[in-house]
Amino acid sequence: MSDLNRLTIAGARDALRKGEVSAVEVTQACLAEAEGAGALGAFVHPTPELARAQAAAADARIAAGEAPDLCGIPLGIKDLFCTRGVPSQAASRILEGFKPEYESTVTAKLLGEGAVMLGKLNMDEFAMGSSNETSCYGNAVNPWKVDARALTPGGSSGGSAAAVAADLCLAATGTDTGGSIRQPAALTGIVGIKPTYGRVSRWGIVAFASSLDQAGPMTKDVRDAAIMLRAICGHDPLDSTSADIAVPDFEAALTGDIRGRTIGIPREYRMDGMPDEIEALWTRGTEMLRDAGAKVVDISLPHTKYALPAYYVIAPAEASSNLARYDGVRFGHRAALAQGDGITEMYEKTRAEGFGPEVQRRIMIGTYVLSAGFYDAYYNRARKVRALIKRDFDEAFEAGVDAILTPATPSAAFGLGEMAEADPVQMYLNDVFTVTVNLAGLPGISVPAGLDRQGLPLGLQLIGRPWDEAGLLNVAYTLERATGFVAKPQKWW
């Protein structure tokens, strides 16, 4: 077998069990590919020795029989996950040198299944960004390219998206607070799923906005997303918000039969100035699901336009609280102090040096909306609007809708640096279709659905009922088969 790095999880799983390849060989292929892909800026802390040792152990386990699905599968891990003894710095200078003494629940589950960690992946600093341009490591770059421009892989899980799209790994972990799995997946032509809030433990994942953050898989196809999702789900006593709900076999749910299912098309997602190509893609996706036997209905989610403003109160408020821990005392960076500096100067200088501009901006917005006199006007009002956004979805589901189809992003990948002069709000608009899902706590998946005129991938988003990832993945699988999307980026790196 050649090009082992191009395998899917399912393909590698089956080949490993038949003895056609070894985990060491698949791992070596990925390591070699990643080593030659420095121009993509995807891997920021490679762990090749660790990967080879884990692969050898996986081969022994497979030979002994009864190995779990992910045994011997080489993965990339977003830098937001704490990994024992391996740098985990959320792409921030403030966590320079930090090597956790513990393992996040998600990575512990993956490693427990015998998965191989190739290294840590680039991202926006503290997962705050939509283009991977706020990273302390520099930009991650989209493997898709149509002219001289270097394009964004999206963000915040930009390194994960670039690595999976470029076949540097078989799959990767991502996290999604406002669209950070689904938007980069759409811009790089891969699959990304954000599970229902509470499906996956947040323990050991560097916190951004605790009521919105969820981890999920970023994979080459829907089947792989189903396989990897099962491995990371489940109740964890270390995360009090993780749900004690049975985890179904998501892969077994992929029947491709959606006859009689009801798909909602929300009219509020038809935004002013939406590019024709996005509109046409959405229409084609709708027709494909109808052709597969689904019933398509128009629905209304009236509070959609207030989702982004509500998000930009709630997420910074939670971030300002979560990021208070970076004070130069217990871990990470501490500023050099001048003669006579006290503890307040230490905090202020450390945080000014350690946090990049976007993170500082969000901490301060959060501080402002939580400050005395503004708490009710901004924070409590945003939480009430959030309840209304969730109610919109509840009503659609009560009326019989099984899943909702929307575009994943308002455009294809844009050039790195193109948004540098825009005000921050322009960048925030990237998440206009994805952010509602985090506020309502629902599962959402981005599926590659076609190429635009320039030849860049575009994605469609499906939104599911709470805890119905199985049903959602099956609709996504049906859509994936109908679109027949198989395009890959031409290697230039």
Partner: protein
């Protein structure tokens, strides 16, 4: 709602982030752009709406009230920028 330089200075202080005097006007302008965007929330009628607190109502798990962790001083201090004699070290706090 307009955020002036004085407010920007106060917020930076509350957030414990040093912002140089000459950077305050640009910061205030950015805050104004973002807060202007957020102002839209004022259009929504939220009368009688309870703030959302959880995605699916569920009772938090309880566990026995016993010690489950501890005795890891070395691990706790391993990442400290300055640790001495088993403690985190910081500049003098009390005169």
């Amino acid at each position: 709602m307009s955020i002036d330089i004085e407010t920007a200075r106060r917020v930076a202080k509350l957030a414990r982030i040093r912002v140089e005097e000459d950077a305050l006007p640009a910061l205030a302008a950015e805050f104004n752009a973002i807060m202007g965007f957020i102002e839209q929330l004022g259009e929504v009628d939220v009368t009688g709406v309870e703030p959302m607190t959880s995605v699916t109502p569920m009772r938090l798990k309880r566990r026995a009230d016993v010690v489950t962790d501890g005795d890891r001083q070395a691990a706790v201090l391993a990442n400290a920028p300055d640790a001495r004699e088993g403690f985190f070290a910081v500049p003098k706090v009390v005169e």
